[in-house]
């Protein structure tokens, strides 16, 4: 009965078909529909279909529920709350992202400066500073004309 091939339908196959899908051909699997419709035109087919149709009719005595007006409104209100919350979160995420990017940029800049700038070459005698070599008073005196 599954949709494999359109084999001719015999009594047992037709019975299994209407047992599962009822008497309306529009519910029958497409692959078997045409031969099954042909079988339904036989006397046996008519009897089996009529029997299944009885239960079909009963199943449809149940009226579909009508959604109360407040339900759709409540669902849409939930959706609006969710939408607002998501937009707020997105804005927050964008701001946080910008701050993060700013911080990361600052940090990267600081690291780059530290890496690129050569360290001051200090002499091993301990008299070199970042502003040049220290001079002793005696040397200053000698240089003075």
């Amino acid at each position: 009965m599954t949709e494999k091939k359109a084999a001719p339908v015999d009594r047992e196959t037709f019975r299994a078909l209407v047992d599962a899908y009822g008497s309306s051909p529009h519910r029958w699997p497409e692959a078997i529909r045409d031969p099954a419709v042909s079988f339904m035109e036989t006397e046996e087919g008519r009897a089996l279909a009529a029997d299944a149709a009885q239960l079909d009719a009963i199943l449809f005595r149940l009226q579909p529920p009508v959604p109360p007006a407040g339900l759709a409104a409540g669902i849409l209100a939930d959706g609006e709350t969710w939408r607002t919350r998501r937009q707020r979160f997105r804005r927050w995420a964008i701001s946080a992202g910008l701050v993060g990017i700013g911080l990361a940029g600052g940090l990267t800049g600081a690291v780059a400066v530290a890496v690129i700038t050569p360290p001051p070459a200090l002499s091993i005698n301990g008299t070199m500073t970042a502003f040049g070599e220290l001079q002793f008073d005696s040397e200053l005196t000698q240089e003075t004309p």
């Binding site: 699997p29 199943l59 959604p67």
Partner: protein, 180 residues
């Protein structure tokens, strides 16, 4: 990639389009409510399930990907899972209160099939095994094809057919006053 008639609407929901939200509620609420009402047999609980299903739709629309499952299939699965949660809770309460076997015999007012009210049909549906009930709801009340119904139920088409046939047989017996 499968063609999903709801794909544009779901995309609209994901981008926060209120019109898409309204349209999906108009299109899907009656179907979701019908599934839940038939599964649970309780109007109030069914409405709660419908509301919870849509909450999940709002939350997950952004992460839903076309091609994995049709949106309608996914929404039905969500609603049915919520129904099963409630059925499980009911069973736990029943077991805690008084152990009882599910009676699949004829209904007390069973009789001629011609004289059948909607209420009796609903009671008979409620007496079916939940998976049989689910199969009947999807194929008969939701008018799903056998493939779509099997996909919602995450079973093969053969298994769906077996559930349908057993469900219909049991229903007929209950409504007709026969012993199953």
């Amino acid at each position: 990639m499968m063609d999903d008639p709801d794909a544009d609407l779901v995309g609209g929901i994901a981008s926060g389009d209120p019109d898409a939200m309204r349209r999906i509620v108009m299109a899907k609420l009656p179907r979701i409510l019908l599934v839940a009402t038939r599964m649970l047999g309780d109007k109030g609980e069914a409405e709660d399930v419908a509301q919870e299903t849509f909450l999940r739709i709002w939350k997950h629309a952004g992460s839903w990907r076309q091609g994995r499952a049709k949106f309608d299939t996914w929404a039905h699965r969500v609603a049915l899972n919520l129904c099963y949660d409630r059925l499980r809770r009911r069973r736990e309460i029943l077991v805690a209160e008084a152990p009882e076997m599910v009676d699949q015999g004829p209904l007390p007012d069973a009789g001629l099939l011609d004289d059948m009210s909607g209420e009796r049909v609903q009671r008979a549906l409620q007496s079916l095994a939940p998976r049989q009930r689910e199969a009947i709801i999807l194929v008969y009340y939701q008018d799903m094809s056998n493939r779509d119904a099997a996909e919602v139920m995450q079973i093969k088409v053969d298994a769906l057919e077996s559930l349908l046939a057993r469900g219909r047989r049991t229903l007929r017996a209950m409504l007709n006053g026969e012993e199953t």
